[in-house]
Symmetry: D2
């Protein structure tokens, strides 16, 4: 397994859906910064199902305990370890499916990968629950970035075919995203209704999340394998259900000409800026100083109440299954803070890289 | 800089557009495999501008020399170093633009990153020319994968708004891609005409490349940060001009319901297969055994002959520039082998990870 | 901080002497192996002060809890997280020394490194207590190695100038090491008396530990930066107090001639062996198949009861301090399992490297 | 293979004794620094056999070519690639020994590791010749360190049982080391005579090298796996023939009491210093500000003219061989710059780590 991000910041995530605990060790945090635990709890609550009427009825509160790395409220330079105990786990829900892999889930591939020894309960290490420690790590790093004037915020841009309003690429309206269960600049109510409708039909919806980082300094990032796009991609695809990622104009570049897509540089208030931001704030893997913008495609939750076809790996038969348990009809709302966390990790890692050579 | 991929296979790329040489060191190749140098040269020729009527008139032949790592035609286990001497470099072409960053290029961001000491000639280390050593590394690894029964092939799916036919996700027609300058299952001629038209207008075109890996064993890949999607993303975004990446149904998942998007498992000839492949052959970061499919958005070449607005960093003025030199009006055709190479590196790296734990 | 070993096996250690917990995350363990928790507890008990009459009176039992990575007693492929709660911590003991760095400890250097924000209580992350999670990781890996027929054992070769009998380099007597508080082939009692004498004098003793790995297959290891010596060194110097490391004949090679030091190969029972083992089982960074042998120099415990000179960082004065608290007069006995653990991690990592390329 | 050091600085070494070229790629060098190529050539000449009357008659001049990473004499931020063409290679010398592994060399272990496909000529990738690119990398980094006021110098402390004078640990006499073929503070002539005597007897000698780094700032280094000792060890053991390594008092700590070994801190000229330096300038893996001191044991050159016993891997017989070719009777003098290079890489890597978090 490689649930480790070993860059300038090192993040080692552990746990299974129903193990004693899940958590994360972060190695490489700078000593001295104050940690705002309330803000961290609030950030993690946005991911937590407990407070989201659109989400699963599972009542995990994601209460965390910091085991090390903090003294008197400040980072002490030693690795920060944080754990979340698993308390509301219903392993029995999964027993009937032990040999009948759920379509769209990692049950089958994990079985091949780990020879049947993988933790099958609740999706094991592949559970969306493992995004809680990812959010914890990202939430801590967001605090470090905010001290540098960097803000990262995401919104639900599209759910179930209902598309809201995209950020202004030159000035993303990150402070206008409504609080509440469905963070969308526009059409949040319609999206919420579509989710409820899908739930009542025993089905699920996919969507698109848009994420913006504002205030990230120009000149950070690296060529080739460690460009900002590469780093962000490595972290964003760590969130299960992401199947696509685009920066700036993204796939639309396929229909643009060079004369349209190039962002002309210009002087603005004595600083270099550009007249457009098709590049999503990144050229050659390095930040331009304009907002960094990306969108991620989120697949519909694979766990649905409708009957599905699959195989029985013991009997060799094609079978129909129904998935019990408690599931989100759409994970887009809860995935928004996950992508913010992923972006924070990636950008901070690039930030440290630049630091190092200074 | 981080022009190093340091995974199970280690690939260190060096060089600038006009440095003495460009090249790559590959550390971690298994001893004993025969290297087919003709096949490698042929693979690299697909990227080379020399043989492509749609490309830049720059006549680099990308003739390479293997410096180490091969004895009597076989990998010897020591790091393989390969270099390509730069011979046809016209540095003078770039002098007038030294302080006037070209829109869409990394000139400005590299200047911030490297304090003005970066090699400005021909884009320096950020030049598309650096995809030659990437192709060399990928081309060697493709030979190793082929021995395992894995084939990787890409096609131009869309250029300048002209969209060809996508691969059949269950059985990508990788052997039907026409040889020649524009590898597209369909509408290759129309695409080629659009490129020529853009060239005559002094402009450039973007597009979409689709890539398929067939025969890759099921059960390879890892969760979280090292899923196949993460690994492929890390390598694909190393190819300059890629601004988006999607797997399987990709961004279309946003409009699919769970009941539509989930690929139902089924028994087929005594093996587990699935009735569809929206997952692009990857679940939970691990291969399903179905074809692995991804598409990448390629931006239009930023170097265009049309006048463009930019800034003069010395005088503080907004200025208009015209870019001389020799450039591709569309890099999609030449980028196809680059993405095949990127995919090969990523998949092979995951393959070695699996090996290790066996 | 870099309390992370990120090789083929990834080990992330966290905690401070008096933090809520200390522990380790191990990422990359193969699924399916049974874990013998009693054997692990017994291994860790050898390091624990609780059971050692020669050690500190601190009564940590090092009771661990496995948080993840194990299902039904078997490794499940997900990262294994293990924590040890800190219960018997007397932080107050350290308050008087907050600005008066203890000689021989990391107090002063950690303060420079972490700007005064480091956890000062009990040595923080630099405490010898952090070898408990190292032992946990090594103890688990030792079980994996044992399944492959590899045994690793260490002994106290020298304490306070009393030197016992070194292992036979061709056939280390690892099964003759006496159990009990002082594992030494010879003169263990005299060593124990010397320790007690030093304790009564308020002083401490250093020593030499010798470690042997038997049954490690030939042909494992790598050249240059990842030879077995390099790997073992990287792990052994992770144990605080190690100030020297030598393999095979070690520093004695300085006085040997090539004709003496070279180990002549010979056929033995149809296999290649050698007539001597000055190489300590390693040539070119790769195992020869003979026992792997190394010795590490362990400095005397820096915490002593005798008065010592140091500085007051606040007042700028030279001062005399007396260190209270509970300390080992000699850590050699307890460091033996730590070095076994370090060797296990290093050798297993090399083993996986070889596997990967197979 | 892992001839890659992938830390904050990334160093990828390639080549075999008789391959087209040997060389190194350094990724992560800061842009802007001037490179003094004459100084680099002079540094590498100290390792080169060409100029050393005590060395092998092989006349490699180690003339290098910088392929990339430097523009107008300054580092440009792109990876620096440097190659040395192999011209004076006599592969035929090695043919008779193809199946008869030389004692003390890596012939046998490499064969196991690489399945017989390894380059056998001249020791292949395991040749001491590969220390040339290591010296190149270290020589470049030494220039960067010198700009920060850091100087690193080594001396032959002992050869063939003749021991010179060790550095003063508080103030190493690095400027008193005589230039010339045998850099030793004392008894250099006697050492040189012993080498000549060994040569005339067809034998070889080992020794001890002592190395000091002066001016390295206090507060740099990391705990656990990335302490200065660990980093230095990882690089020093990359030099073939090193079989032992000790810091400060080293193995003598085994005979010291805590009250003797602890270095009492004291104020000196308004700064914190210490009254002794048994720690070798390192506490808790972090620099104290005092000189960093280590000694490495160098085994006698395994290639000797005297007949030796070994096996024939084809016939299964015990045989006697005589090694032809041209070899050093003692590599200590030429290894001195190699260890300086290794130390430079390790210290610089730690320096960058500290930088990053600032």
């Amino acid at each position: 397994m490689s649930s480790l991000y070993a860059g300038n910041i090192r993040i080692s995530i552990f746990g299974q859906s129903h193990s004693r605990a899940i958590g994360v060790v972060i190695d490489g945090l700078p000593a001295g910064h104050s940690l705002d635990l309330d803000a961290l709890q609030a950030f993690m609550a946005r991911r937590s199902p407990a407070q989201n009427p659109l989400g699963t009825p599972r009542k995990e509160t994601d209460a965390f305990e910091i085991l090390s790395g903090v003294v008197n409220g400040r980072l002490c330079g030693a690795p920060l370890a944080l754990e979340i105990r698993n308390r509301d786990a219903h392993s029995a829900d999964y027993a009937p499916l032990e040999h009948r892999p759920r379509p769209g889930h990692a049950d089958y591939t994990a079985r091949l990968r780990y020879g049947g020894y993988e933790d099958k309960s609740g999706g094991g290490h592949f559970s969306g629950r493992l995004t809680a420690p990812l959010c914890a790590a990202g939430g801590i790093i967001l605090q470090l970035l905010r001290e540098q004037g960097v803000e990262i915020a995401g919104q639900a841009l599209e759910i179930g075919g209902i598309r809201g309003r995209a950020f202004d690429p030159m000035a993303p309206e990150i402070h206008q995203i409504p609080a509440g269960p469905l963070p969308a600049l526009e059409k949040g109510e319609a999206m919420a209704e579509a989710i409820q409708a899908a739930r009542s039909q025993g089905d699920s919806l996919g969507g698109v999340i848009e994420c913006a980082a504002v205030g990230f300094p120009a000149g950070i990032g690296d060529p080739m394998f460690d460009g900002l796009e590469n780093r962000i991609a490595r972290c964003v695809f760590a969130v299960p259900a992401v199947k696509g990622l685009e920066f700036g104009a993204g796939f639309d570049v396929a229909r643009l000409r060079g004369s349209e897509n190039n962002d002309p540089f210009c002087w603005e208030n004595g600083r270099v800026s550009a007249r457009s931001n098709h590049a999503g704030g990144i050229l050659g893997g390095i930040s331009t100083g304009l907002p960094i913008l990306f969108r991620a495609a989120i697949k519909p939750t694979p766990s649905i109440a409708l009957p599905q076809n699959t195989v029985d790996l013991q009997t060799g038969e094609n079978v129909e299954i129904r998935i019990g348990g408690r599931h989100d009809p759409c994970i887009v709302p809860r995935a928004v803070p996950c992508l913010e966390a992923a972006a924070a990790i990636a950008l901070y890692d690039a930030y440290l890289e630049r630091n190092r050579e200074a």
